[in-house]
Symmetry: C2
Subunit: 371 residues, 2 copies
């Protein structure tokens, strides 16, 4: 049998903390595991299946949760970004993307044949994306060609920074440029509504932040975009071209639906997650591991920098793998093997005891090598 | 809890018979269910993950199984078709598609901005796709513009017909047109090798025919296409654009890997499946339910036509839903509610006892209403 080595570890990998299945999702996995099980009673389109209750989830629950008019299931956040970009793309046109964007934003744009203009962050140590800079880059780019879309990563996956998306939406709206919010680390973790931001599209990730089995994502949009992004096939009138007819046609969708009641509730406790993250950050700084990005921090995803751990790695027996191995010995997983000087982690969903345990592990490791 | 109503029924829906999970896959689902679990030890690309053994599966097992040089995991067969079409697409160009093609082939082409030329089948009652007709349509289409790809559905999802793919590959090769084989109902059910056919691309479906949880697919190609279809991002040098970096990043992939040893073995027993299908077809015809498509049939997916059941539906209490309900009462699922005159089904993986049980159900139902 194929065992998952780190299954019972405390996992602080930002990719993993929001994707842990609920008990309900585990049950759904087994119940709906077989290939096309959700299609038993399909009448031709995934989002219209009533048994299991996919229709209600996609057309009522999800738009309400995302604060949008129209929602769909996608293969993941990146597949949602690509669908929007591909639907809006024009020859020689541009997309304006924040400098902290996930790599898949760039690749989606490349795949859609769009030119990419990047809004630089403020750089070390905060890496903030400023609305004024966004505006500046839009103005420069408009001189080069048509901008069909702007994208803001909310928060980004490196520093966990939450830019002022509302202000950025205003900047875009004033210039008639649709704005896409990549909420892969927001939707399912924290309250976020497309209409509150005033943007046009939002994507979320089921496996990253909605306690779902991958790959699966969600896409929400203002009603005015439905005809463009969800345009139908000329031959198969009920099939949406950008979704290739149907997207996450399987058990992943059932885990998303099964976890959803829990996800809705956990979003309301977001302030507790922010408090935990700030506490963790302050204690890490006490032992000389500095947090970069926004401070005080507003998200569970944090980037740390430590000259101390880097110095230790130069003389430790295991070299740059010492930190990974020491954490592994303590059944903590999620900092990439070989990293010591710069790494990111997430405290999402960890209990207070686990937070203390992880903090203590860092203290112990430093003491061991410095002692 | 969200229960699957038809879970313990005999399922004869062609979508479902090849996607039933093995015991190994069920274990893998629970072990790897959490969101991004397969990415615990990722170094930057899904197909290069060594723990779990994805690298070995994608780069050794899969190319061997598909008889191709290069293979990748996709979000499904349709996502594989779109990736190829999108990579090969040119302005105003054409794709030639067999008239029995799955709707998602058309939609992939529409999404990729390609014009579509259709090779008509021979029509009622066999619906065969003839290589000569393929050649004819290619010749006509070449007058209209450049053909960047041809596609053959092997077998198609309506009649379960297996066209002479080798001959069609020769026709394409003689004109330097790459050929894509949509093997969504072949790969994982029956022996099929890209190199034996002589085509350029092959796609398969994990949830349809490889005993996997959806959505997931496989894509195989000749080495000469790697640079085009798997071209890398200019900014993120190890990320493949048409795959948006990574595709089925989750438990679905682990079910594909877990079921693979069983799938490899079952493919070798394909002749037994064909025999079962032929037996089933002959017995259905004895009670006046006629099989359309190739005869003798070469696949478990079969299309039936019955004026008798249609006549019954006109006077039955449940009207056109009578057949669905009668089968449901006998715990048989898979013929769409409301169908009586034309329907498809699959005998794949059914035991001889189940075959007799299903045949008997049809006999009983007809006797009940005609008696």
């Amino acid at each position: 049998m194929l065992r998952r080595q780190a299954k019972d570890f405390i996992n602080i990998d930002p990719l993993q903390t929001g994707g842990k299945l609920t008990e309900e999702a585990k049950e759904a996995l087994l119940e709906w595991g077989d290939g096309y099980s959700v299609c038993d009673f399909c009448q031709g389109r995934l989002d219209e299946i009533k048994n299991p209750p996919i229709y209600d989830f996609v057309h009522r629950e999800l738009p309400e949760f995302l604060g949008c008019d129209v929602a769909r299931i996608t293969g993941g956040a990146r597949e949602g970004m690509f669908a929007v970009m591909h639907a809006l793309a024009k020859k020689d046109a541009w997309v304006v993307v924040d400098g902290n964007a996930h790599y898949s934003s760039y690749i989606s744009a490349e795949r859609a044949g769009l030119n990419i203009a990047e809004v630089p962050s403020t750089g070390h140590p905060d890496y903030l994306i400023k609305p004024e800079k966004f505006e500046e880059v839009i103005e420069e780019t408009e001189k080069k060609g048509e901008i069909v879309l702007a994208l803001i990563t909310y928060p980004d996956g490196n520093y966990g920074n939450l830019p002022d998306a509302r202000r950025i939406a205003e900047v875009c709206r004033a210039r008639d440029i649709p704005l896409l919010v990549n909420g892969a680390y927001a939707v399912g973790r924290m309250p976020v509504k497309l209409k509150d931001i005033g943007a046009d599209f939002i994507v979320g990730s089921g496996h990253k932040s909605m306690a779902s089995s991958g790959p699966i994502g969600v896409l929400g949009m203002r009603g005015e975009w439905e005809e463009t992004v969800l345009r139908r096939s000329s031959k198969y009138k009920n099939k949406e071209i950008e979704l290739l007819g149907c997207t996450a046609r399987g058990a992943s969708l059932m885990t998303l639906i099964a976890s959803f009641p829990t996800v809705k509730k956990r979003v309301e406790r977001w302030n507790e997650e922010v408090e935990k993250a700030r506490y963790f950050s302050s204690k890490m700084e006490e032992i000389g591991i500095l947090q970069l990005g926004e401070k005080p921090h507003n998200h569970d995803l944090m980037f740390f920098s430590s000259e101390k751990l880097f110095e230790i790695s130069k003389r430790a027996k295991d070299g740059r793998f010492f930190l990974y191995k020491e954490l592994k010995n303590r059944r903590i997983h999620g900092i990439k093997p070989g990293l010591t000087r710069h790494f990111k982690l997430s405290t999402y969903g960890l209990s207070k005891e686990e937070i203390e345990y992880v903090l203590n592990a860092f203290r112990e490791i430093i003491e061991k090598y410095e002692g």
